[in-house]
Symmetry: C2
DNA sequence: ACTTAATTACGAATACTTTCGTAGCACTAA
DNA sequence: TTAGTGCTACGAAAGTATTCGTAATTAAGT
């Protein structure tokens, strides 16, 4: 019996997922056109990949029309979490702070974004104050 | 002529790099023992991988002793940058803020770390104020 | 000297990913 | 009906990555 686990996507599969996350349900042709902007490849290549992804459970499709419409079967959030976790564990030795400074160092955020992040941080710290009460230092 | 570019490491190669970044220069045996904690594999598999990495320029080695000692030839920072960039572009649509919230959401930082991050943010914002002067909103 | 154990070098098998050619079907227009 | 176009299905080639077996070499112990 084949496994068909949903937990992993290859590099090429990721590209397709990204297109579908952004566009929503799409035909192979539509996905293919977009992929072409980054890299030349044949139409049947994209088709085959999407068929494989269907088997793996990464995609679903609607076959009522002759031209099938594919959609993501997996939440982007799931992959984001997985990725971030992998990176923090693997590259930043469990230190989110380091990751964040890298992220900000290389991809300058807009002012609004920075403010948003600050708010978020304030919230977390405040929560800690309430919950952790007298927990001055580790 | 072979290319032997330094710019990419496969998944397995990454694991080896991580061991070497952490331990510093090590023998194949030492690396192998550590890898075993995560995944069964033969000694010569690790050996072969490290030899390939040597060819690619990812590692260097000292062969004065019979038991060779390998070391990373590439900076961890380089890979961190690369990775973070890839993730921000690919998964977070160029929004560092989102990435950061994910990072903090799933890997709770210590209080000290949070404070450190806040300081860092304050700095950035202050710099923007100076440079951007009357730049209230985009 | 001989045996044993640890090590390197390397070819080759296996496994996984990506790519594409070809066949067949459905729809449309002439 | 026939030709043309666009689609799916699918096998299989080509490209990469991973795994391991075997031979040769060295070091150490007996």
């Amino acid at each position: 019996m084949k496994s068909l686990k949903t937990n992993k996507a290859t590099e090429s599969e990721m590209e397709i997922l990204r297109v579908l996350w952004e566009r929503g349900p799409s035909t192979v042709r539509e996905v293919h056109e977009l992929l072409l902007k980054n890299k030349a490849s044949g139409y049947t290549t994209t088709l085959k990949l999407m068929q494989i992804m269907l088997e793996k459970g990464l995609l679903t499709r609607n076959t009522t029309n002759r031209t099938h419409v594919y959609a993501c079967a997996v939440k982007q959030v799931f992959f984001q979490k997985q990725l971030v976790g992998k990176i923090i564990d693997g590259m930043f030795k469990g230190s989110p702070a380091q990751l964040i400074m890298h992220a900000l160092g290389n991809h300058r955020a807009s002012r609004d974004e920075l403010i948003e992040i600050k708010k978020y941080l304030d919230n977390i710290v405040r929560q800690d104050d309430v919950k952790g009460k007298a927990n001055p230092k580790k």
